[in-house]
């Protein structure tokens, strides 16, 4: 199976970079992960028989490269012992419009790793739940559960961010009034 390398890179490097950024939380490492993924494709991509699996192959490879280079040893996940509510907080899409892409990513970076990874895959490049299950090698039910909980955490963080923005705007307006 032959896939043009340059076309492949142009099609996927941005999405892979964003995924790498969400994992590594810095641009330099995200670039390294993306480059390494395509380097591995250059070496091994010809072994992939089913061209429809290219996207899954690339995201899986990047994720495994990230895991292999991760220095921080996570012994036990940090979780609240209390039950998380099953209902998502209601959110106004206009709140999200007021944020920059950087602010959304910063909120994502605060979501627990275990929920953030499937959530980013859901938002970046429209990966389906089955793609995400294959990339992360977890059951489909676990994907859905982690997306649900990731959304809860993200919405709470974004609500906090937009509340801060609103407060800053009010403070600025008061200062301008006084002056």
């Amino acid at each position: 199976m032959s896939i043009d390398f340059e076309i492949l890179v142009r099609d996927y490097y941005q999405a892979l970079y964003r995924f790498g950024l969400s994992l590594a939380c810095n641009s330099a490492d995200a670039c390294d992960l993306t480059q390494q993924t395509f380097a591995l494709w250059a070496d091994r991509g010809h072994q992939l028989r089913d061209s429809s699996k290219v996207k899954t192959w690339l995201f899986t490879t990047l994720y495994r490269e990230f895991l292999a280079t991760r220095r921080k040893a996570v012994r036990f996940p940090q979780h609240e012992l209390s039950e998380v509510e099953s209902e998502l907080p209601v959110q106004d899409p206009r709140q999200i419009e007021r944020l920059s892409g950087r602010e959304v990513m910063e909120a994502l970076e605060q979501v627990d790793d275990i929920f953030r990874t499937p959530l980013v895959l859901f938002y970046v490049d429209d990966n389906s739940y089955s793609d995400i299950a294959a990339i992360l090698d977890i059951p489909i039910g676990t994907v859905m559960s982690r997306i649900s909980r990731g959304k809860q955490q993200l919405r709470a963080l974004i609500s906090g961010q937009t509340a801060e923005q609103a407060q800053r705007a009010r403070t600025k307006a008061r200062e301008e009034q006084v002056s």
Partner: protein, 246 residues
Amino acid sequence: MNSKQARFILQSYRPNGGDARDPVFREALEQAGLDPELRGWLEAETRIDSALGAKLTELSAPPSLLDNILAARQAHQSRPFWLRSRPWFAIAAVALAMAGLITYLLTSARPAFTAFVPAAIAHVSGPMEMGFSTRDPTSLNQWISTHGLPAAIPIPAELGKKIGSGVMCSQFQWKGEDIALICFMLEGGRHAHFFVLDASAVDTASLPMGRAYAQQGEWATVSWVEGGHAFVLAAAGDQQTVEALL
């Protein structure tokens, strides 16, 4: 399916409509058709997910990244053919075959990992002497590090949440190998048993890639190999029971 269940499933429904024909979502979408509140929620959820996805696409890779990837490929291509990786595959394949033969000769003397699972179930089905108990992750870490185990054991996330309910630890021997056992308290007085053993001490060739599920009477188990260790998680119930602990 009720609306709460539908809502859980639809949280994974892609906003671009790519899942419209997926049978996994069919029943949930039908429920949304019947329940105006659920339908309204789905419309709002789709708008929010679209907005968030769009915001993330504002983040672009540095302009040099594309050029660097293509340049690296160009440099790789311009190397003499005997230095490119592909001709080395044949050499690597031979080396791999040799390693496989040596591994087979070595592992044929090691007990099969598949024989461990029934032994593990038998161990926890009878009376056990658990030498250590705690509800504190730090204390559990100390026990782990003082019993010849690596500092970072990948305890599954959902199982890790149960530490605060209490864990009991012990070590036992199986075919001359030390096995660490961490028992987690679950709701209703049930337990989940997490076994850790050195992967090099057993023949793991029969394990498929990823996780292997099995049913041993009333016990459901999931096994996997990671970072030089082999793990078995066992709990009374079925595959869903152990999946929920991962």
